[in-house]
Point group: D2
């Protein structure tokens, strides 16, 4: 992260048909990068169009948020799926959103895999590579969002080889291990619920590039984007407060396409 | 159609998962434009990739063949669906195929709606306009395939207004009414099964721009592409024979991007 | 309707995966018959199980609410679909809910088609017959719910021929034409929003068997069940008030299996 | 297996919409138990109806073949899915087929999980128990089909506890390890392609209750049903030959409901 600039990203466009999920209209003006579901785990063509419109009006950058083909499981269940099929479903979903965006004159900034696909990539870097390969072939101006932490070097090397930029992300509400990896959700304390703690953590990271660990220590962590949520009024209030905290501290909230 | 040049188009990529439909490998070298299913009525991301590969090796132009969201009905059942949703599902599907093609360095030539969506457009020209609007916004080099016949003028005007080219198509195996419209499938004689009759009909069209009507008359018809099928060995044999007939008569089989 | 007894039915179980729709927990104790979505237009196997559980605890009768295979359109879009396929999808969905209910020791009371399938049946009585045929073959103790109004005689005859009971329903919040049919939703005044007007209308119906018409007149209408909604807090409050009004007037709210 | 009686089972009803898979019409008269896909990994309501009809005419017992919700992967890909959801999707699919069968006066004989769901159960006996629990609650006359081999005792105990019969199955074309488990498909020799070898193996099993192992030895194995395939003409010919071999050796081919 260049001094004083950070991106805020969030998953949006997760409604489907008559079903509404997330407070996209409220959240959109607060973030700088929107990860839009592409119809496999959530979203449908009409929801995608309306979500791009919301982002466009808010001046928020749009990105594809491809997931596993599992609507009933919201793409959160790991599946046995080969690298070629990961390339295929990723390309399909990115393209679908590209065209929905193009139909209103918008272009995608980034790609961030969703849910189980993201978690599978975190465990198996070949999946980052498969996704990077496809992203690069489709449009090498697209930025790949990946998890900050101990695998940064490996993923940076993948990005260089594939000729695309990578933005590494910090999770605002997740606790960290001493090696910079996320504390597993199954462990107590893995998710931070106190807005003040979240704001302090992110502010300290934005100023010093350090985050507290669950063991009580303190590590350096490099990240260019911070993942936040907008599922409910409390989550949106947290993002609003976090945004204020950052702005008051002189940190600019900018899409990574502007500083990467 | 410019003197001596015609396109042959066919629906391909209609397999899904473990299910195989159509003889794409045999058909692909015989046609000049391939209409590839995009996952809503048939096709899946892996099938789409393999179909683009087949087309690429055969030197056949690839196009999107978007359909209604109805896999179990193969996109053949009319649905109550508004113009905005038609725009949305069309954009989604075109983009999905664009990216799958881009992942192997290919670009789309054309867009042809499938099944019930095509038939709905034939009955309601606003649907051609909705599709043309989306095609134009996504990539105005894309050619829209539409039905030759009495509405040619209306659709040409849509193409001009939307800034895209339109290729009109003749159905090789369908009988025609005196006004240039297709004889409804429910009527006897609507589908021509005799390969010799099909070849004669197409050859006469290619040379003179005229087709016989079901009433026994004869009309002028303008079309730039001829729709053929590859569902079974007989269908493929018919296309092979038709192709030979055309070539021997000095007609060139060319993708419309070359002559439109 | 036997003097002093009426059924209140509502559509429930319309959530899907992570998506929540309707206030089923609040609504369930207020109604006597629950129409549970079966996975085609809404609902999934886990939602169906939880909804049967809610009904069981509330002592509410459970019924199948089969719809068209159109999740993204919530089963509200008419589709071209033959009578045999209507039999097939209806049987499939009824059976699916029967087994989910049986897994917790519950048995279905009734079947009510959903959305566009219901509306298609209202326009084309052969569809009521196709559904009645399947219901009868699966379990002739099941009660079919159908629209009260001018076609009552036709549908009663279908029920007799197929050997099943039919419960006719009045829509609490819809205006009626002079012939007893529903005022089309596209017309102003078709939906009644004022809870007091709804309560008066239903009470008058329950006492006198008459409903006011949109033209200002008054007609006799026979119905055994009243359709109410539980989509939002206002809707649930309306049902609660309506229920109180009926109980205070000495009307018993009973599942139709008890009095038909 | 009681002396001289064996069941032949095969997966059928795996077509979907316009897609045809398997030679069900040819296979059906050759087998005694038909495992019918229920719409999650293959099959649709119309295909299910037609498959039950084929079985009814052939006098073949029908059973449910529930799979994971993964049409594009044909239910062959393992998924992260909890026991409760396995109960839910199994109940749903069994019920769907029960009603489709009831609509033509047929009753189910058995339940056999499909593909990845079956393989997950083989690795994790709690899954057999979850399925047995649901089967028992829906209809305790239903027979559960499970893999013969080292876990027979565990699964028999599950059957006793849940109050249902279990038929254990031998795979006609799969090689066996010395402990009675299947040789993993990834190992060479795991699948036997020579029809004569298959017939000899099955005949020896039917007479002596023993099968050769891949290591060259010989083990006792108890099974009441033999799984065969009907995907292509060679597979059907193999079943026809196998059936003849068994009949000529005086072995009766009978549905397990008759002898279990």
């Amino acid at each position: 992260m260049p001094a004083g600039k950070i991106d805020l990203n969030a998953d949006v466009g997760e409604s489907f048909g008559v079903y509404t999920l997330g407070m996209d209209a409220e959240l959109m003006p607060l973030i700088s990068s929107a990860n839009i579901a592409c119809g496999f785990h959530a979203g449908d063509p009409a929801v995608m169009r309306r979500t791009v419109e919301l982002a466009r009006r808010a001046g928020t950058a749009v990105g594809a948020h491809p997931g596993l083909p599992d609507l009933v499981g919201f793409g959160r269940r790991a599946m046995e799926i080969g690298l070629q099929e990961i390339r295929d479903i990723t390309a399909y979903q990115i393209g679908a959103l590209q065209a929905v965006a193009a139909a209103q004159g918008e272009r995608l900034q980034h790609v961030k895999p969703h849910g189980a696909l993201y978690n599978m990539a975190v465990k198996k870097p070949e999946i980052w590579d498969a996704i990077a390969e496809v992203v690069s072939a489709i449009d090498d101006r697209l930025i790949l969002f990946a998890l900050a932490g101990p695998d940064r070097g490996t993923i940076e090397e993948i990005g260089r080889r594939r000729g695309i930029r990578v933005a590494f992300e910090l999770f605002a509400d997740r606790a960290y291990n001493a090696d910079g990896s996320l504390v597993a959700r199954s462990r107590p304390g893995a998710v931070i619920h106190d807005p003040a703690v979240v704001a302090d953590k992110v502010l300290r990271f934005a100023r010093e590039g350090r985050v507290a660990t669950i063991e009580g220590g303190d590590i350096a962590l490099r990240a260019e984007t911070i993942c936040v949520h907008g599922d409910n009024p409390e989550a949106v209030a947290l993002v609003r407060a976090l945004r204020e905290t950052l702005l008051q501290a002189g940190i600019e909230i900018r899409r990574p396409a502007e500083f990467l």
